[in-house]
Amino acid sequence: MVDDNLVVVDLQGMGVAGTPCMMNEETFIGPMHLRGEVIRVRGSHADLQCYEDTTGVMVGHEVRLTGHLIEMELGPGLLGATLDGLGNRLEGFGDFLPRGEIVPALDRNKRWKFEAAVNDGDVVSPGDIIGTVKETELVEHRIMVPPLFARGKIKGLRSGEFTAADVIGHVVGEDGIERELTLMQRWPARIPRPAAARLALSELLNTGVRIIDGLNPIMLGGTACTPGDFGTGKTMCQHDLARHSRVKIVIYVGCGERAGEMVELMKEFPKLKDPESGRPLTERTVLFVNTSAMPVAAREGSILVGATVGEYFRDMGYDVLLLTDSLSRQAQGMREMSGRLGEIPGPQAFPAYISAYLTRWFERAGSVICTGERGERRKGSMTTIAALSPDGGDIAGDPPTQASIQTAKAALILSRKRAAARLFPAFDPLECHSKYLDSSRDALQRFFETRELPLWLTFVEAIRDSVVAGERVKSQMEILGERGISDDEYRKYLLGDLVQKAYLCQNTFEAHDSATSLERHYIMMRFLVHLIDLFPLRDKTSMRRQAEQLIFDITQVNYSEACEGGYQALLDSVAGGGR
């Protein structure tokens, strides 16, 4: 049977006694070699999800079973590459995407300079680093013994120039089998890569976005979601995180979204510089491009291969950020498939397992001790931040969004009202929350103490209180009017408004405001906390004028390179009763 991208294959027809088939096995369908995957087996029939457009597929066409799951190629050449949802390198295709063609993720012609780090006879285990390739100025690609190798001795490993597929040496396993080493390895995308141990999270991810780093922190190795209706700046926010986050590697998965936005990233990243090293951002980034017009099954492919590549760099001992825009498109793709399979639908016709599926995917994030027995233990992490696009903009009623908010420990909710008021980033400070403020509080406190920012969490509390109080008074004012509330309450409203406009809002086009380092952020918070204390209680009109002026002045300081003196001058003038 063929029904859109669902293809049913008769296993009996494939051999005399029938062919054995594995759940989630990779398959190739028909003379066009369309890539597919077994997603259900019933008696002698297997249901395949086809990753490409099935036009022209006939009953009677042969299906080839490969004997393995869908795999991702891992090795030097990933950084700076633009790959589709199945890991094909897009530059290898012409103007249009052909069907049934494969362009391997790693360019087989490119030669890499490999420096061996172990000698013949050394005993190695899976995960051990056997050498390095300087893949980009920013990243040393650590070549590891693949996870499924047996422990054994190195034989014939040499430094030199190799392509990704060249044999660079062997491991003679303790099981007596000799296995080939290459610069690349393969890993099934659906299965999380192994780690020696999963750790409790202990560090903050510095995203440079103040409303995140301050009020709604994300831990390195943690999870977050950013749900928002169209036009609220979801994609812009993901782009900003990709640019500014202080991590070693960024994996950006464009899943079922506009091609134009991905083109922007593809053309822009080679020109943008990493703030620390001044090198082009492409040198630390892998882009997966699955646009909304591509077949829906490949959406799932994109989030799985994205996670696999992220884990691979994590295993080298790096901090990885996995950004996905948008997870909803994958969930909707699953909904389409579920309908075709005739499964009993859950809410909004999503399959019943959608929440469990998303939880499993988010759980691939984490901070780990990497596998490997030689040398020092490496620590690596993968942090996951996923955007969601709820149908109808209905955050409360959209099952994938709700499942993500439940699972991801920081929920950064974008608000249409704030976007319309041009308050960017348009996160709603009252709706957003980070469970890390509770669950990782001690770890965060220790983290800030080692960074010599000991009062960070205290400042955050004070600032949050101010925002909450301001919003409370604001809603009272909507009923009672300005005259209906006391001057003291009005002061709280003005300060809450000031904190939102001068601190939570950030101008992504201003070099010094677009991303805030932890040190600068700390200075800013300390200033605001003092300002909240010092701001004089006067009549409403005077307070309002002063607050308006302060918002303007603070914004100017935010835009300038050195901020501490500017803030101090403002504090002095407020304390001195200036103006």
């Binding site: 049977m1 249009f96 169209f230 083109v263 909304s292 016709a349 149908d391 903009g393």
Partner: protein
């Protein structure tokens, strides 16, 4: 290769089933001689499910079916298509002969994102609200939202007649009519006559099959893509995309698919994306495809699923109410790529200032309507500005070159005191038309 069958076993709405078939491929076109065309949408064992483009009214169970062995294709010839009108299956509906030319797939492959260029150049519509405040970039996709009862045909007609690409001769328009009323069809036929040398139309009438309607956007985009590859800049204008979504719902339900939200099928997003994503900017010397889709929005509610998904897919929106663009709700996400870079340096600042001033004036007007008296001379100037802005700038029935649109904006801004303009001093020195403060 043709395979012929003589029985139809099941008729269920527009879905026809033929049994005992082999050698037929997914998506293949079938001819029902004497009746019409169909497309293979599902194959189960030896049963083929076809979606009949003409519905099923009057289909005999003994109807012959010829499977063509090819997907749905369209004859195309760049030299012959201009000024022509086609129907929802690509046949001429202007009484002139069939096009002789190469056959192109209606739903072709997806453009490689790696081969797309960043948006550049813009489409000048002559309508100040668009060109000035919401410039449409070549390769952009943007919907015009309207209430179901609102008639925007005169605006669409203006865009078809007036649109141009600055400094480029090689510009074409493809118009797609989805479920047009006969009266509307006659209206657009006249529009075509005015711009026949550069316009193609593909029209499905409201009285015709809704299944054929599903083809119209794809036919328009297939033509546009071909022309763009040959170096033309093409604007595709389609109305009304809500009718497309409704036709899709009808077909999906007939196939027994489980609806997801408000009765629409779960793949509505993917389907709409497959249309709008054909908007593209190729690297020169090749051209571009820009798409404007008119979309009725019941109750003006942007959380309505069709408008909402369209919002996720497209790059901005142009809502229309009572014949005017609702400037406060309009957005062109890509305009930053060209404004001030390919247009005059004052373009961005003066338009931002005018829109901000208008927003401020609307707030004042609201206060006045609530019974507060507005007496401050600056406030009164804002109200005067708003009145003139609405009278002279916002109406859609204009045809101004962009430079004149910007001049008009400066002229209107002169109604306000210079000091409230949040514009850089150098620009004010050069462009300010009002009295000095």
């Amino acid at each position: 290769m043709k395979i012929v069958y003589c029985d139809i076993s099941n008729i269920d709405g527009p879905i026809l089933q033929v049994r005992g078939v082999s050698g037929v491929g997914m998506g293949e076109q079938a001819i029902l001689p004497g009746y019409g065309l169909a497309k293979v949408v599902k194959i189960q064992g030896d049963t083929v499910f076809m979606q009949s483009l003409q519905g099923s009214l009057g289909v005999l169970t003994t109807q012959r079916t010829e499977f063509t062995g090819r997907p749905f294709e369209l004859p195309f010839n760049a030299d012959l298509v201009m000024g022509r009108i086609f129907d929802g299956i690509g046949r001429p509906r202007d009484g002139r002969p069939e096009i002789q030319g190469e056959h192109i797939p209606v739903e072709g492959p997806v453009v490689n994102p790696d081969r797309r260029a960043m948006g550049q150049g813009y489409i000048e519509t002559g309508i100040p609200s668009i060109d000035g405040a919401n410039t449409i970039v070549r390769g952009q996709k943007i919907p015009i939202y309207k209430l179901p009862g609102e008639d925007v045909n005169h605006i669409v007609a203006r865009i078809i007649r007036q649109a141009r690409v600055a400094g480029q001769e090689n510009f074409s328009v493809v118009f797609g009519g989805l479920g047009l009323l006969n009266e509307e069809y006659l209206f657009y036929r006249e529009v075509l006559e005015d711009a026949a040398e550069r316009t193609i139309m593909c029209v499905n009438l409201g009285s015709e099959s809704p299944i054929e309607r599903l083809n119209v956007p794809h036919i328009c985009c297939a033509f546009a893509e071909k022309l763009a590859l040959a170096g033309r800049h093409v604007l595709v204008v389609m109305t009304d995309m809500l009718r497309y979504a409704d036709a899709l719902m009808e077909v999906s339900n007939a196939q027994g698919k489980i609806p997801s939200r408000d009765g629409y099928p779960g793949d509505l997003y993917s389907r709409l994306a497959r249309i709008y994503e054909r908007a593209v900017n190729f690297a020169p010397p090749r051209g571009s495809v820009t798409i404007i889709g008119v979309n009725s929005v019941p109750d003006n509610d942007l959380s309505h699923i069709v408008a909402n998904l369209t919002g996720y897919i497209t790059e901005g929106q142009l809502p229309v109410e009572r014949g005017r663009f609702v400037i406060m709700k309009c957005l062109s996400r890509l305009k930053g790529l060209v404004v001030g870079k390919e247009t005059r340096k004052d373009h961005g600042p003066i338009m931002d200032a005018c829109v901000a001033a208008y927003a401020n004036a609307l707030g004042l007007r609201e206060q006045r309507e609530m019974g507060f008296s507005i007496t401050d001379p600056v406030d009164l100037a804002y109200l005067k500005f708003a009145g003139e802005f609405e009278r002279r700038f916002l109406p859609a029935d204009q045809n101004l070159p962009l430079d004149q649109t910007l001049d008009l904006a400066w002229e209107l801004a002169a109604l306000l005191p210079k000091r409230v303009m949040r514009i850089k001093k150098e620009l004010l020195d050069e462009f300010w038309k009002g009295p000095q403060d």
